[in-house]
Protein backbone atom coordinates (compact mmCIF):
# COMPACT_ATOMS: atom_id res chain seq x y z
CA UNK A 1 0.00 0.00 0.00
CA UNK A 2 2.83 2.37 0.91
CA UNK A 3 4.50 1.55 -2.40
CA UNK A 4 1.32 2.30 -4.32
CA UNK A 5 0.82 5.63 -2.57
CA UNK A 6 4.47 6.51 -3.15
CA UNK A 7 3.98 5.75 -6.84
CA UNK A 8 0.77 7.78 -6.98
CA UNK A 9 2.19 10.83 -5.26
CA UNK A 10 5.24 10.95 -7.54
CA UNK A 11 3.04 10.52 -10.60
CA UNK A 12 0.79 13.34 -9.42
CA UNK A 13 3.77 15.59 -8.87
CA UNK A 14 5.06 15.19 -12.42
CA UNK A 15 1.63 15.87 -13.92
CA UNK A 16 1.00 18.92 -11.71
CA UNK A 17 4.37 20.40 -12.52
CA UNK A 18 3.73 19.90 -16.23
CA UNK A 19 0.25 21.39 -16.21
CA UNK A 20 1.51 24.45 -14.34
CA UNK A 21 4.18 25.11 -16.94
CA UNK A 22 2.10 27.09 -19.44
CA UNK A 23 5.03 28.12 -21.61
CA UNK A 24 5.96 24.53 -22.20
CA UNK A 25 2.44 23.60 -23.26
CA UNK A 26 2.02 26.57 -25.58
CA UNK A 27 5.46 26.18 -27.16
CA UNK A 28 4.74 22.50 -27.77
CA UNK A 29 2.31 23.50 -30.52
CA UNK A 30 4.95 25.18 -32.64
CA UNK A 31 7.29 22.40 -33.72
CA UNK A 32 4.75 19.83 -34.90
CA UNK A 33 2.82 22.59 -36.63
CA UNK A 34 5.91 23.57 -38.64
CA UNK A 35 6.57 19.96 -39.59
CA UNK A 36 3.00 19.25 -40.61
CA UNK A 37 2.37 22.48 -42.48
CA UNK A 38 5.64 23.62 -44.03
CA UNK A 39 7.49 20.32 -44.32
CA UNK A 40 4.37 18.27 -45.02
CA UNK A 41 2.95 20.55 -47.69
CA UNK A 42 6.35 21.46 -49.13
CA UNK A 43 7.68 17.93 -49.65
CA UNK A 44 4.23 16.69 -50.61
CA UNK A 45 4.06 19.28 -53.39
CA UNK A 46 7.52 18.67 -54.81
CA UNK A 47 7.94 14.87 -54.46
CA UNK A 48 5.70 11.87 -54.82
CA UNK A 49 6.71 10.46 -51.47
CA UNK A 50 3.47 8.93 -50.24
CA UNK A 51 1.81 5.68 -51.30
CA UNK A 52 -1.22 5.86 -53.54
CA UNK A 53 -4.34 7.09 -51.79
CA UNK A 54 -2.50 9.10 -49.16
CA UNK A 55 -1.14 12.63 -49.11
CA UNK A 56 2.37 13.16 -47.80
CA UNK A 57 0.93 15.14 -44.91
CA UNK A 58 -1.24 12.15 -43.98
CA UNK A 59 1.77 9.84 -44.19
CA UNK A 60 3.89 11.89 -41.82
CA UNK A 61 1.09 12.77 -39.40
CA UNK A 62 1.51 9.59 -37.29
CA UNK A 63 5.27 10.09 -37.69
CA UNK A 64 5.06 13.59 -36.23
CA UNK A 65 3.01 12.25 -33.33
CA UNK A 66 5.81 9.71 -32.82
CA UNK A 67 8.41 12.46 -33.07
CA UNK A 68 6.61 14.57 -30.48
CA UNK A 69 6.41 11.59 -28.14
CA UNK A 70 10.13 10.92 -28.68
CA UNK A 71 11.35 14.47 -28.14
CA UNK A 72 9.08 15.15 -25.18
CA UNK A 73 9.86 11.83 -23.53
CA UNK A 74 13.60 12.26 -23.86
CA UNK A 75 13.34 15.83 -22.63
CA UNK A 76 11.64 14.62 -19.45
CA UNK A 77 15.00 13.35 -18.23
CA UNK A 78 15.75 16.97 -17.47
CA UNK A 79 13.46 16.74 -14.45
CA UNK A 80 15.92 14.30 -12.86
CA UNK A 81 18.73 16.80 -13.33
CA UNK A 82 16.63 19.61 -11.87
CA UNK A 83 15.69 17.42 -8.94
CA UNK A 84 19.33 16.60 -8.32
CA UNK A 85 20.35 20.23 -8.69
CA UNK A 86 17.63 21.55 -6.39
CA UNK A 87 18.09 18.80 -3.86
CA UNK A 88 14.60 17.39 -4.15
CA UNK A 89 15.95 14.04 -5.36
CA UNK A 90 17.37 13.51 -1.87
CA UNK A 91 13.94 13.80 -0.32
CA UNK A 92 12.67 11.12 -2.70
CA UNK A 93 15.63 8.79 -2.49
CA UNK A 94 15.72 8.76 1.30
CA UNK A 95 12.01 7.95 1.59
CA UNK A 96 11.10 4.42 2.69
CA UNK A 97 9.82 3.53 -0.78
CA UNK A 98 11.48 1.07 -3.13
CA UNK A 99 13.47 2.33 -6.07
CA UNK A 100 11.17 0.62 -8.54
CA UNK A 101 8.17 2.52 -7.19
CA UNK A 102 10.13 5.76 -7.34
CA UNK A 103 11.22 5.09 -10.89
CA UNK A 104 7.77 3.98 -12.03
CA UNK A 105 6.05 6.95 -10.40
CA UNK A 106 8.32 9.40 -12.10
CA UNK A 107 8.34 7.52 -15.39
CA UNK A 108 4.58 7.06 -15.70
CA UNK A 109 4.10 10.70 -14.64
CA UNK A 110 6.46 11.89 -17.37
CA UNK A 111 4.82 9.53 -19.84
CA UNK A 112 1.45 11.04 -18.99
CA UNK A 113 2.88 14.48 -19.78
CA UNK A 114 4.33 13.23 -23.08
CA UNK A 115 0.96 11.66 -23.90
CA UNK A 116 -0.72 15.04 -23.40
CA UNK A 117 1.79 16.56 -25.85
CA UNK A 118 0.91 13.81 -28.35
CA UNK A 119 -2.79 14.51 -27.94
CA UNK A 120 -2.10 18.18 -28.67
CA UNK A 121 -0.59 17.09 -32.02
CA UNK A 122 -3.72 15.08 -32.79
CA UNK A 123 -5.80 18.20 -32.21
CA UNK A 124 -3.47 20.16 -34.48
CA UNK A 125 -4.09 17.53 -37.12
CA UNK A 126 -7.82 18.07 -36.64
CA UNK A 127 -7.35 21.78 -37.36
CA UNK A 128 -5.37 20.93 -40.50
CA UNK A 129 -8.13 18.66 -41.73
CA UNK A 130 -6.44 15.37 -40.83
CA UNK A 131 -9.41 14.15 -38.87
CA UNK A 132 -9.67 11.12 -36.63
CA UNK A 133 -12.92 9.52 -35.60
CA UNK A 134 -13.36 9.19 -31.80
CA UNK A 135 -12.75 5.45 -31.76
CA UNK A 136 -9.44 5.78 -33.62
CA UNK A 137 -8.48 8.54 -31.23
CA UNK A 138 -9.20 6.36 -28.20
CA UNK A 139 -7.31 3.47 -29.78
CA UNK A 140 -4.27 5.74 -30.21
CA UNK A 141 -4.02 6.65 -26.53
CA UNK A 142 -2.84 3.35 -25.02
CA UNK A 143 -0.44 2.81 -27.92
CA UNK A 144 1.01 6.29 -27.47
CA UNK A 145 1.41 5.68 -23.75
CA UNK A 146 3.14 2.38 -24.41
CA UNK A 147 5.56 4.13 -26.78
CA UNK A 148 6.45 6.77 -24.20
CA UNK A 149 7.26 4.32 -21.36
CA UNK A 150 10.44 3.08 -22.97
CA UNK A 151 11.47 6.46 -24.35
CA UNK A 152 10.96 8.27 -21.04
CA UNK A 153 12.98 5.51 -19.39
CA UNK A 154 15.90 6.23 -21.75
CA UNK A 155 15.78 9.92 -20.82
CA UNK A 156 15.56 9.23 -17.09
CA UNK A 157 18.36 6.66 -17.22
CA UNK A 158 20.74 8.98 -19.06
CA UNK A 159 19.85 11.90 -16.79
CA UNK A 160 20.50 9.84 -13.67
CA UNK A 161 24.14 9.53 -14.77
CA UNK A 162 24.53 13.14 -15.89
CA UNK A 163 25.73 15.94 -13.67
CA UNK A 164 24.64 18.96 -15.66
CA UNK A 165 21.97 20.23 -17.99
CA UNK A 166 24.55 20.90 -20.70
CA UNK A 167 25.85 17.36 -20.86
CA UNK A 168 22.31 16.01 -20.83
CA UNK A 169 21.36 18.32 -23.70
CA UNK A 170 24.34 17.17 -25.74
CA UNK A 171 23.65 13.46 -25.28
CA UNK A 172 19.94 13.96 -25.86
CA UNK A 173 20.29 15.50 -29.32
CA UNK A 174 22.79 12.78 -30.14
CA UNK A 175 20.06 10.20 -29.53
CA UNK A 176 16.95 12.08 -30.62
CA UNK A 177 17.79 12.72 -34.25
CA UNK A 178 18.97 9.22 -35.27
CA UNK A 179 15.95 7.68 -33.56
CA UNK A 180 13.66 10.14 -35.32
CA UNK A 181 15.16 9.85 -38.81
CA UNK A 182 15.51 6.08 -38.70
CA UNK A 183 11.95 5.52 -37.46
CA UNK A 184 10.45 6.12 -40.87
CA UNK A 185 8.46 9.02 -39.49
CA UNK A 186 9.12 11.03 -42.65
CA UNK A 187 9.24 8.22 -45.22
CA UNK A 188 8.50 4.59 -45.81
CA UNK A 189 11.10 2.17 -44.52
CA UNK A 190 10.47 -0.19 -47.48
CA UNK A 191 12.01 2.21 -49.96
CA UNK A 192 15.30 2.41 -48.03
CA UNK A 193 18.51 0.51 -48.91
CA UNK A 194 18.88 -2.83 -47.10
CA UNK A 195 21.45 -1.68 -44.53
CA UNK A 196 19.32 1.26 -43.49
CA UNK A 197 16.27 -0.95 -43.23
CA UNK A 198 18.24 -3.27 -40.99
CA UNK A 199 19.23 -0.42 -38.68
CA UNK A 200 15.65 0.87 -38.62
CA UNK A 201 14.43 -2.49 -37.37
CA UNK A 202 16.53 -1.99 -34.26
CA UNK A 203 14.88 1.33 -33.56
CA UNK A 204 11.99 1.03 -31.09
CA UNK A 205 10.29 4.09 -32.54
CA UNK A 206 10.00 2.36 -35.93
CA UNK A 207 7.45 0.00 -34.37
CA UNK A 208 5.68 2.87 -32.68
CA UNK A 209 5.29 4.85 -35.89
CA UNK A 210 4.17 1.74 -37.77
CA UNK A 211 1.57 0.97 -35.09
CA UNK A 212 0.23 4.53 -35.12
CA UNK A 213 0.01 4.47 -38.93
CA UNK A 214 -1.86 1.18 -38.89
CA UNK A 215 -4.40 2.63 -36.46
CA UNK A 216 -4.73 6.15 -37.90
CA UNK A 217 -4.44 5.52 -41.64
CA UNK A 218 -6.41 2.27 -41.53
CA UNK A 219 -7.15 0.62 -44.88
CA UNK A 220 -4.92 2.91 -46.94
CA UNK A 221 -1.86 1.77 -44.96
CA UNK A 222 -2.76 -1.92 -44.76
CA UNK A 223 -0.71 -2.86 -47.82
CA UNK A 224 2.37 -0.94 -46.67
CA UNK A 225 2.61 -1.76 -42.97
CA UNK A 226 5.90 -3.25 -41.82
CA UNK A 227 4.33 -5.91 -39.65
CA UNK A 228 0.96 -6.62 -38.05
CA UNK A 229 -0.11 -4.34 -35.19
CA UNK A 230 0.24 -7.09 -32.64
CA UNK A 231 3.92 -7.56 -33.51
CA UNK A 232 4.51 -3.80 -33.29
CA UNK A 233 2.94 -3.70 -29.83
CA UNK A 234 4.91 -6.74 -28.66
CA UNK A 235 8.17 -5.15 -29.83
CA UNK A 236 7.36 -1.88 -28.05
CA UNK A 237 6.31 -3.70 -24.89
CA UNK A 238 9.51 -5.76 -24.90
CA UNK A 239 11.59 -2.60 -25.28
CA UNK A 240 9.62 -0.93 -22.44
CA UNK A 241 10.28 -3.77 -20.02
CA UNK A 242 14.00 -3.76 -20.74
CA UNK A 243 14.25 0.02 -20.38
CA UNK A 244 12.25 0.02 -17.13
CA UNK A 245 14.61 -2.60 -15.71
CA UNK A 246 17.66 -0.56 -16.73
CA UNK A 247 16.09 2.66 -15.42
CA UNK A 248 15.29 1.14 -12.03
CA UNK A 249 18.84 -0.12 -11.80
CA UNK A 250 20.16 3.34 -12.70
CA UNK A 251 17.98 5.01 -10.05
CA UNK A 252 19.24 2.47 -7.54
CA UNK A 253 22.80 3.60 -8.20
CA UNK A 254 21.99 7.27 -7.99
CA UNK A 255 23.24 9.16 -4.95
Amino acid sequence: MTELRGFYTLWLREVKRYLRDRTRIVSSFIQPLLWLVIFGIGIGASLRAAPVGLTYQQLIFPGIIGQTLLFTSMFMGISVIWDKEFGFMKEILVAPVSRISIFLGKMVGDSTDALIQGVIVIFLGLLLGIGLDPITFLACLPVMLLITFGLVSIGLTIASFMGSLESFGAIQSFINLPLFFLSGALFQIQSLPDWMQAVSKLNPLTYGVDALRTIILGGAWQAYQLQPLIIDLAAIGFFDIIMIAIGTWAFGKMK
Binding site: M1, T2, R5, G6, Y8, T9, L10, L12, R13, K16, R17, R20, D21, E85, F86, G87, F88, M89, K90, E91, I92, L93, V94, A95, P96, V97, K255
Partner: protein
Amino acid sequence: MTSAIEVSNLTKSFGSLMAVDKLNITVESGEIFGLLGPNGAGKTTTISMLCTIMKPTSGSAKVNGFDIVKESTQVRKSIGIVFQDPSVDDRLTGRENLYMHANLYGVPPNEQKSRIDEVLQLVQLDDRADDLLRTYSGGMRRRLELARGLIHYPRVLFLDEPTIGLDPQTREHIWTYVKQLKKTHDITVVLTTHYMDEADKLCDRIAIMDYGKIIALDTSPRLKDTLAGDVIMVKANNLEALSKLVVEEMKLEKIQHINDTLEITVRNGKSLLPRVMELATQNKIFVESIVLREPNLEDVFLHYTGRKIREEAGGKELHGMAAIQRRKIR
Protein backbone atom coordinates in the same frame (compact mmCIF):
# COMPACT_ATOMS: atom_id res chain seq x y z
CA MET B 1 16.58 5.65 29.66
CA THR B 2 17.03 3.80 26.37
CA SER B 3 19.44 4.96 23.71
CA ALA B 4 18.04 6.38 20.49
CA ILE B 5 21.30 5.94 18.64
CA GLU B 6 24.25 3.68 19.28
CA VAL B 7 27.30 4.08 17.13
CA SER B 8 30.26 1.77 17.34
CA ASN B 9 33.48 2.18 15.42
CA LEU B 10 31.64 3.82 12.53
CA THR B 11 34.09 4.62 9.75
CA LYS B 12 33.79 6.15 6.30
CA SER B 13 36.73 6.67 4.04
CA PHE B 14 36.87 8.20 0.58
CA GLY B 15 40.04 6.78 -0.90
CA SER B 16 42.79 7.72 1.51
CA LEU B 17 40.71 10.38 3.24
CA MET B 18 39.18 9.28 6.53
CA ALA B 19 35.98 11.34 6.63
CA VAL B 20 34.72 9.59 9.75
CA ASP B 21 37.24 7.72 11.84
CA LYS B 22 36.07 4.96 14.23
CA LEU B 23 33.27 6.95 15.76
CA ASN B 24 31.64 5.85 19.02
CA ILE B 25 28.65 7.77 20.33
CA THR B 26 25.49 7.00 22.25
CA VAL B 27 22.60 9.40 21.97
CA GLU B 28 20.03 9.08 24.73
CA SER B 29 16.34 9.09 23.96
CA GLY B 30 14.81 12.55 24.26
CA GLU B 31 17.94 14.65 24.18
CA ILE B 32 19.09 17.29 21.73
CA PHE B 33 22.51 16.13 20.66
CA GLY B 34 24.85 18.41 18.76
CA LEU B 35 27.72 17.53 16.47
CA LEU B 36 29.87 20.63 16.43
CA GLY B 37 32.79 21.13 14.15
CA PRO B 38 34.18 23.01 11.18
CA ASN B 39 33.10 22.23 7.63
CA GLY B 40 34.73 19.05 6.50
CA ALA B 41 34.96 17.64 10.01
CA GLY B 42 32.79 14.68 9.02
CA LYS B 43 29.50 15.78 10.57
CA THR B 44 27.40 15.49 7.44
CA THR B 45 29.05 12.20 6.52
CA THR B 46 28.16 10.86 9.96
CA ILE B 47 24.55 11.98 9.63
CA SER B 48 24.34 10.59 6.09
CA MET B 49 25.38 7.19 7.37
CA LEU B 50 22.92 7.31 10.26
CA CYS B 51 20.15 8.25 7.79
CA THR B 52 21.18 5.32 5.55
CA ILE B 53 21.99 7.61 2.62
CA MET B 54 25.60 6.46 2.73
CA LYS B 55 26.97 3.05 3.59
CA PRO B 56 29.74 2.94 6.19
CA THR B 57 33.13 1.58 5.18
CA SER B 58 33.27 -0.31 8.45
CA GLY B 59 31.74 -0.31 11.91
CA SER B 60 28.04 -0.23 12.67
CA ALA B 61 25.27 1.84 14.16
CA LYS B 62 21.74 1.38 15.41
CA VAL B 63 19.03 4.02 15.14
CA ASN B 64 15.89 3.35 17.17
CA GLY B 65 17.22 -0.17 17.57
CA PHE B 66 17.47 -0.80 13.81
CA ASP B 67 20.74 -1.54 12.11
CA ILE B 68 21.58 1.18 9.57
CA VAL B 69 22.82 -1.29 6.98
CA LYS B 70 20.63 -4.35 7.44
CA GLU B 71 17.37 -2.62 8.38
CA SER B 72 17.64 0.60 6.43
CA THR B 73 13.94 0.78 5.54
CA GLN B 74 12.89 0.60 9.19
CA VAL B 75 15.50 3.23 10.03
CA ARG B 76 14.12 5.51 7.32
CA LYS B 77 10.56 5.10 8.52
CA SER B 78 11.49 6.02 12.07
CA ILE B 79 13.54 9.15 11.39
CA GLY B 80 12.97 12.64 10.03
CA ILE B 81 15.65 14.50 8.14
CA VAL B 82 16.24 18.13 7.33
CA PHE B 83 19.11 18.28 4.89
CA GLN B 84 21.78 20.92 4.81
CA ASP B 85 20.80 21.95 1.28
CA PRO B 86 17.22 22.78 0.35
CA SER B 87 15.22 19.75 -0.78
CA VAL B 88 11.72 20.99 -1.52
CA ASP B 89 9.85 21.17 -4.81
CA ASP B 90 9.41 24.88 -5.46
CA ARG B 91 6.82 24.35 -8.21
CA LEU B 92 4.42 22.88 -5.69
CA THR B 93 2.71 24.60 -2.80
CA GLY B 94 3.78 24.11 0.78
CA ARG B 95 0.80 21.90 1.44
CA GLU B 96 1.42 19.80 -1.67
CA ASN B 97 5.00 19.22 -0.58
CA LEU B 98 3.74 18.01 2.77
CA TYR B 99 1.12 15.71 1.23
CA MET B 100 3.74 14.20 -0.99
CA HIS B 101 5.96 13.53 1.99
CA ALA B 102 3.06 12.02 3.94
CA ASN B 103 2.40 9.63 1.06
CA LEU B 104 6.04 8.70 0.65
CA TYR B 105 6.28 7.87 4.35
CA GLY B 106 3.06 5.89 4.49
CA VAL B 107 1.04 8.20 6.73
CA PRO B 108 -2.55 6.84 6.72
CA PRO B 109 -4.68 8.99 4.34
CA ASN B 110 -7.33 9.74 6.97
CA GLU B 111 -4.69 11.23 9.27
CA GLN B 112 -2.80 13.23 6.66
CA LYS B 113 -4.86 16.40 6.76
CA SER B 114 -4.85 16.80 10.53
CA ARG B 115 -1.14 16.06 10.82
CA ILE B 116 -0.28 18.52 8.07
CA ASP B 117 -2.38 21.25 9.69
CA GLU B 118 -0.66 20.49 12.96
CA VAL B 119 2.89 20.82 11.65
CA LEU B 120 2.02 23.89 9.59
CA GLN B 121 0.77 25.53 12.73
CA LEU B 122 3.88 24.57 14.63
CA VAL B 123 6.13 26.41 12.17
CA GLN B 124 3.57 29.19 11.68
CA LEU B 125 3.13 28.67 7.96
CA ASP B 126 -0.58 27.91 7.95
CA ASP B 127 -1.43 31.18 6.23
CA ARG B 128 1.06 30.59 3.39
CA ALA B 129 0.47 26.86 2.97
CA ASP B 130 -1.27 27.15 -0.39
CA ASP B 131 1.29 29.39 -2.05
CA LEU B 132 3.88 28.00 -4.43
CA LEU B 133 7.16 27.40 -2.66
CA ARG B 134 9.05 29.60 -5.08
CA THR B 135 7.39 32.58 -3.42
CA TYR B 136 8.77 31.58 0.01
CA SER B 137 11.81 33.17 1.59
CA GLY B 138 14.81 31.04 2.59
CA GLY B 139 13.71 30.99 6.22
CA MET B 140 10.17 29.95 5.32
CA ARG B 141 11.45 27.09 3.18
CA ARG B 142 13.59 25.95 6.07
CA ARG B 143 10.58 26.01 8.38
CA LEU B 144 8.57 24.03 5.86
CA GLU B 145 11.34 21.44 5.69
CA LEU B 146 11.30 21.22 9.46
CA ALA B 147 7.54 20.71 9.37
CA ARG B 148 7.91 18.12 6.65
CA GLY B 149 10.39 16.13 8.70
CA LEU B 150 7.77 15.74 11.42
CA ILE B 151 4.67 14.59 9.54
CA HIS B 152 5.37 10.90 9.93
CA TYR B 153 6.03 11.29 13.69
CA PRO B 154 9.70 10.30 13.62
CA ARG B 155 11.33 9.25 16.87
CA VAL B 156 14.64 10.81 15.88
CA LEU B 157 14.96 14.02 13.93
CA PHE B 158 18.21 14.77 12.13
CA LEU B 159 18.97 18.39 11.36
CA ASP B 160 22.01 19.02 9.21
CA GLU B 161 23.08 22.63 9.71
CA PRO B 162 19.48 23.72 10.31
CA THR B 163 20.13 27.46 10.32
CA ILE B 164 22.91 27.83 7.76
CA GLY B 165 22.51 31.00 5.74
CA LEU B 166 19.55 32.32 7.73
CA ASP B 167 19.21 35.71 9.37
CA PRO B 168 19.58 35.94 13.18
CA GLN B 169 15.85 36.38 13.79
CA THR B 170 14.89 33.30 11.79
CA ARG B 171 17.61 31.33 13.51
CA GLU B 172 16.13 32.19 16.91
CA HIS B 173 12.72 31.07 15.61
CA ILE B 174 14.05 27.74 14.44
CA TRP B 175 15.72 27.16 17.78
CA THR B 176 12.43 27.84 19.52
CA TYR B 177 10.62 25.33 17.27
CA VAL B 178 13.21 22.67 17.90
CA LYS B 179 13.05 23.13 21.67
CA GLN B 180 9.27 23.12 21.54
CA LEU B 181 9.35 19.90 19.55
CA LYS B 182 11.45 18.16 22.09
CA LYS B 183 8.89 19.06 24.74
CA THR B 184 5.66 18.37 22.86
CA HIS B 185 6.66 15.39 20.73
CA ASP B 186 9.17 13.73 23.03
CA ILE B 187 11.54 13.47 20.13
CA THR B 188 15.29 12.93 19.97
CA VAL B 189 17.10 15.54 17.93
CA VAL B 190 20.55 15.15 16.41
CA LEU B 191 21.90 18.27 14.78
CA THR B 192 25.13 19.31 13.18
CA THR B 193 26.36 22.85 13.25
CA HIS B 194 29.45 24.90 12.92
CA TYR B 195 27.88 27.73 14.88
CA MET B 196 29.06 27.81 18.47
CA ASP B 197 26.08 29.78 19.73
CA GLU B 198 23.68 27.34 18.13
CA ALA B 199 25.23 24.36 19.87
CA ASP B 200 25.41 26.31 23.12
CA LYS B 201 21.77 27.43 23.17
CA LEU B 202 20.14 24.34 21.77
CA CYS B 203 21.98 21.19 22.71
CA ASP B 204 21.79 19.11 25.86
CA ARG B 205 25.08 17.52 24.95
CA ILE B 206 27.69 18.50 22.42
CA ALA B 207 30.25 16.37 20.64
CA ILE B 208 33.08 18.38 19.19
CA MET B 209 34.21 16.79 15.98
CA ASP B 210 37.32 17.42 13.95
CA TYR B 211 39.01 15.39 11.21
CA GLY B 212 36.46 12.60 11.56
CA LYS B 213 36.93 12.12 15.29
CA ILE B 214 35.10 13.16 18.43
CA ILE B 215 37.57 15.15 20.47
CA ALA B 216 35.27 16.14 23.33
CA LEU B 217 31.75 15.22 24.39
CA ASP B 218 29.79 16.73 27.26
CA THR B 219 27.18 19.31 28.20
CA SER B 220 27.98 22.85 27.21
CA PRO B 221 28.64 24.14 30.79
CA ARG B 222 30.93 21.23 31.56
CA LEU B 223 32.84 21.64 28.32
CA LYS B 224 33.44 25.23 29.28
CA ASP B 225 34.50 24.14 32.77
CA THR B 226 37.30 22.06 31.32
CA LEU B 227 38.92 25.36 30.54
CA ALA B 228 40.30 26.65 33.81
CA GLY B 229 37.69 29.38 33.70
CA ASP B 230 37.59 33.05 32.83
CA VAL B 231 40.19 35.02 30.95
CA ILE B 232 41.38 38.45 32.03
CA MET B 233 42.80 40.30 29.04
CA VAL B 234 45.08 43.22 29.83
CA LYS B 235 46.76 45.76 27.60
CA ALA B 236 49.39 47.81 29.40
CA ASN B 237 52.57 49.78 28.71
CA ASN B 238 54.80 47.29 30.52
CA LEU B 239 53.43 43.80 30.07
CA GLU B 240 56.71 42.11 31.06
CA ALA B 241 56.73 43.69 34.47
CA LEU B 242 53.03 43.13 34.97
CA SER B 243 53.20 39.45 34.13
CA LYS B 244 56.10 39.02 36.57
CA LEU B 245 54.10 40.75 39.30
CA VAL B 246 51.02 38.67 38.65
CA VAL B 247 53.04 35.49 38.95
CA GLU B 248 54.91 36.54 42.07
CA GLU B 249 52.26 38.45 44.00
CA MET B 250 49.04 36.72 42.98
CA LYS B 251 50.47 33.21 42.47
CA LEU B 252 48.72 32.86 39.12
CA GLU B 253 50.31 30.59 36.58
CA LYS B 254 48.22 30.45 33.41
CA ILE B 255 49.56 33.50 31.69
CA GLN B 256 50.03 33.97 27.99
CA HIS B 257 51.36 36.80 25.86
CA ILE B 258 49.27 37.02 22.73
CA ASN B 259 50.40 39.88 20.50
CA ASP B 260 50.24 42.94 22.76
CA THR B 261 47.79 41.42 25.21
CA LEU B 262 48.35 39.54 28.41
CA GLU B 263 45.83 36.76 28.88
CA ILE B 264 45.43 35.49 32.41
CA THR B 265 43.26 32.44 32.82
CA VAL B 266 41.67 32.23 36.25
CA ARG B 267 38.94 30.43 38.18
CA ASN B 268 37.16 33.50 39.41
CA GLY B 269 37.63 36.39 37.07
CA LYS B 270 35.14 38.76 38.62
CA SER B 271 36.98 39.03 41.96
CA LEU B 272 40.49 38.79 40.56
CA LEU B 273 40.16 41.52 37.93
CA PRO B 274 40.23 44.39 40.49
CA ARG B 275 43.32 42.82 42.14
CA VAL B 276 45.20 42.84 38.85
CA MET B 277 44.22 46.46 38.34
CA GLU B 278 45.36 47.36 41.86
CA LEU B 279 48.67 45.60 41.41
CA ALA B 280 49.34 47.48 38.21
CA THR B 281 48.50 50.90 39.71
CA GLN B 282 50.65 50.30 42.79
CA ASN B 283 53.61 49.55 40.55
CA LYS B 284 53.04 52.50 38.23
CA ILE B 285 52.12 50.40 35.25
CA PHE B 286 49.67 52.17 32.96
CA VAL B 287 46.76 49.91 31.97
CA GLU B 288 45.26 50.80 28.60
CA SER B 289 42.39 48.38 28.82
CA ILE B 290 41.32 45.41 30.86
CA VAL B 291 38.60 43.01 29.82
CA LEU B 292 37.04 39.98 31.45
CA ARG B 293 35.96 37.26 29.05
CA GLU B 294 33.95 34.28 30.18
CA PRO B 295 34.71 31.14 28.20
CA ASN B 296 32.60 30.19 25.20
CA LEU B 297 32.55 27.14 23.01
CA GLU B 298 34.98 28.83 20.66
CA ASP B 299 37.55 28.65 23.45
CA VAL B 300 36.65 25.05 24.07
CA PHE B 301 37.19 24.30 20.43
CA LEU B 302 40.47 26.19 20.48
CA HIS B 303 41.47 24.33 23.61
CA TYR B 304 40.90 20.90 22.08
CA THR B 305 42.09 21.49 18.55
CA GLY B 306 44.66 24.20 19.04
CA ARG B 307 43.03 26.37 16.40
CA LYS B 308 39.93 28.40 15.75
CA ILE B 309 36.96 26.86 14.02
CA ARG B 310 37.69 26.95 10.31
CA GLU B 311 35.72 29.19 8.07
CA GLU B 312 33.75 27.99 5.06
CA ALA B 313 35.80 25.59 2.97
CA GLY B 314 36.24 25.94 -0.79
CA GLY B 315 33.66 23.32 -1.64
CA LYS B 316 30.92 25.19 0.15
CA GLU B 317 31.89 28.42 -1.55
CA LEU B 318 31.20 26.78 -4.87
CA HIS B 319 27.87 25.73 -3.53
CA GLY B 320 27.03 29.30 -2.65
CA MET B 321 27.88 30.32 -6.20
CA ALA B 322 25.69 27.58 -7.57
CA ALA B 323 22.90 28.80 -5.36
CA ILE B 324 23.24 32.33 -6.71
CA GLN B 325 23.29 30.93 -10.21
CA ARG B 326 20.07 29.11 -9.50
CA ARG B 327 18.36 32.23 -8.34
CA LYS B 328 19.37 33.94 -11.55
CA ILE B 329 17.94 31.15 -13.69
CA ARG B 330 14.51 31.72 -12.29
